[in-house]
């Protein structure tokens, strides 16, 4: 079985659909509240010059987060 792709590993310019976010973690619940619910398409816009944070596009809005949080978000290939 192939390990699922994590948002933190996605190269800039590529998209994926959120397949899983762990529940019951405060920081991740906030990301959900900002639109990162399973089934949502996300696109990595860019990484900051020093590799972190990453900027993503979700529902047409732009969010930045660190790899630490992004590593919890699992993706399936974009349709």
């Amino acid at each position: 079985m192939v390990a699922p792709l994590k948002l933190s590993e996605l190269p800039a310019g590529q998209s994926g659909v959120i397949s899983h976010i762990p529940t019951g973690r405060s920081a991740l619940t906030r990301l959900r509240e900002m639109g990162l619910v399973p089934g949502t398409r996300v696109t990595i816009i860019r990484r900051a010059p020093l590799g972190e944070p990453i900027e993503i596009s979700v529902h047409g809005s732009r969010l930045a987060m660190r790899n630490h949080e992004a590593a919890f978000i699992e993706l399936a290939a974009a349709p």
Binding site: G24, T29, G35, V37, P53, E55, S61, R62, M65, R66
Partner: protein
Amino acid sequence: MSKRQASSSAVAQGFSSEPLFALIGNPNSGKTTIFNALTGLRQKVANYPGVTVEKKIGECISQHGKRLQIIDLPGAYSLNARSPDEAVLRDVLLGRRADTPRPDRVICIVDAANLERNLYLMTQVLELGLPTILVLNMMDVAEDKHWRINVEKLSGILGIPVIPMQANSGRGLIELKVAMSRTDVPVPQWQSPPVPEAIRAELSRSRDALAQVGAVSADAKLMEPLYLISDHDPSHYGIASSHLDRIFECRKGLERAFPGWEDELVNARYAAVSSLCKEVLHRPQEDGRTLTDRLDGIFLHPVWGIISLFMVLGLLFYLMFSVAEGPMKMIEALFGGLGGWLQGHMGEGDLRDLLVKGVIKGVGGVVIFLPQIMILFFFIGMMEDTGYMARIAFIMDRLMSTVGLNGKSFLPILSSHSCAVPAIMATRTIESPKDRLITILVSPLAVCSARVPVYILLIAATVSVTAVPTLTKVGFMLGLYFLGLSGVFFFAWLFNKCVMRGVNSPMILEMPSYKRPALKSILLHMWERVTLFLKRAGTVILGLSILIWFASTYPKTPGATPDQQLANSFAGQAGHFIEPAIKPLGYDWKIGIGLISSFAAREVFVGTMGIVYAVDESEDEKNIQPIRERLRDERWPDGRRVYTPLVCLSLMVFYAFAMQCMSTLAVVRRETNSWKWPLFQLGYMTSTAYLLALLVYQVGTLLGF
């Protein structure tokens, strides 16, 4: 609880004359611009007790000439609070705050170009059942993305007025006022998304349990207890500690009944929002390249982005150092002139001295900060309003994270190199309370402009003019800047590791679309900062100035020269008193007087040393030649030189770390809402200064310097 209900129903009865509107919305939705456009200068700013969340209430006149009251609630992403800001929004909307009446009506502001995420908060608010007006702000940005929003359909589905707007140009403002002037703002028809039965049953039980202890009102809607149960604000602001146990019990109950319930509810709500958006929002398959994309291509570019950041920051420094200098000189001259005029027109005596050297000097010392505060806040306002601020945080975040801070701490720390006072006021842009506090605590370590004259004097006294090239002096100065910055980073790291352990809040940064700044709103904000500074910090600074004047003036020594008078004053006695403590640092009691008097402000050291050594006091700080010569000749009773290079170095290290600035302390007191943190800051900085200066002098002496 019954008292609260009584007060809110009293307002409800009276609202045919003066209804209270609440402005709510996500951060970056343009809420404050709309508030400022509606109320102008008819607004009052205060703090909610115990926190630095601002309470803004304003007034506007309806189309029919009636007065309407508006409360601008803090921006939030959700009623599930994660900070005191969001807790205030929740509690005011639920009518849980004794100091703020429950609003009669809600104006919900959403960013049209960011519809889904903004509608998330809106649906939570609609369910509370208050009459609501929906404002679709930033329609221009949505149009730029070729998004089409069916306003009439949205209004039909929600059953409330929906007003398209572009607040920074005033488009839609009249329509909003017309809608606000209606006597019958409708109640929304929105239904909560379906909740799994297990959660519903448990929520219903929780509501009864919480109503029993008075945490929610007896007629609370089903979702209301939820927002207390899912409170993630570490300080649980706004929740009585006696209610917390009951709330935690309810949380455990929900956890048992439906593991992952909180995330499930978010999913359900987003599903509802998504199907609503399918009805009303028409957007292209792929968002086209917008203005924001094109600008970010430059401003976030690995090379151009950093070059433009340096250019922007260079401009800020130019404004704060050079442009502010003119007005500051004028203020100085004005107060100097006033003092001189009084000197000439009043008879000699203590009253004249008090007025000239205490009051006028003190007031002048407060007002002198205004040019820098105004420039910094205008600049920050521009950067926040245009959206560039988030880009600075994005670029600098990685660097700041090495010491446990985030990108938003960068700008305050940078501007504290000019002056810590406006820098500390600027930390309000940092949402995480822990990061904000650490930034406040370490900012005064940066080399501010008040340290510069002290350093220049000491460097001049250290190195002999003839033999040493200018480059060495520049090297000294750069070394001192580096020392200050190392202090900032070291203590940020230390506080993050030790003093304030606990979970770091995650860095989640919204990157708003670039937009044209709303000048009026920025100027209003700047004005607000200025008045707050004058009222809160100014009074403390003035009081301490008078105190220090008193200490250096009394007791009087009849017929003494100024230097003898100072030596015999309380300050002079204190200098003698602390001499045993500062001797290991290489200082004598005269330097002790300088240290004590420069507690008011670091640059006072230069002037005080001028008086102590009875040198003709020159108003021009650059003209330090005579003091420097005098310092070189100063001897201990046994004939050794006092100002050896080692002592100067020890003094520079002392000034690099010591908290010698009462204005900063006054501002920290105001921004942290207690004396605890300014006193902590005074303690840690001054003891570090003492220990390091001791180390420098003792090790240097051992090494034979």
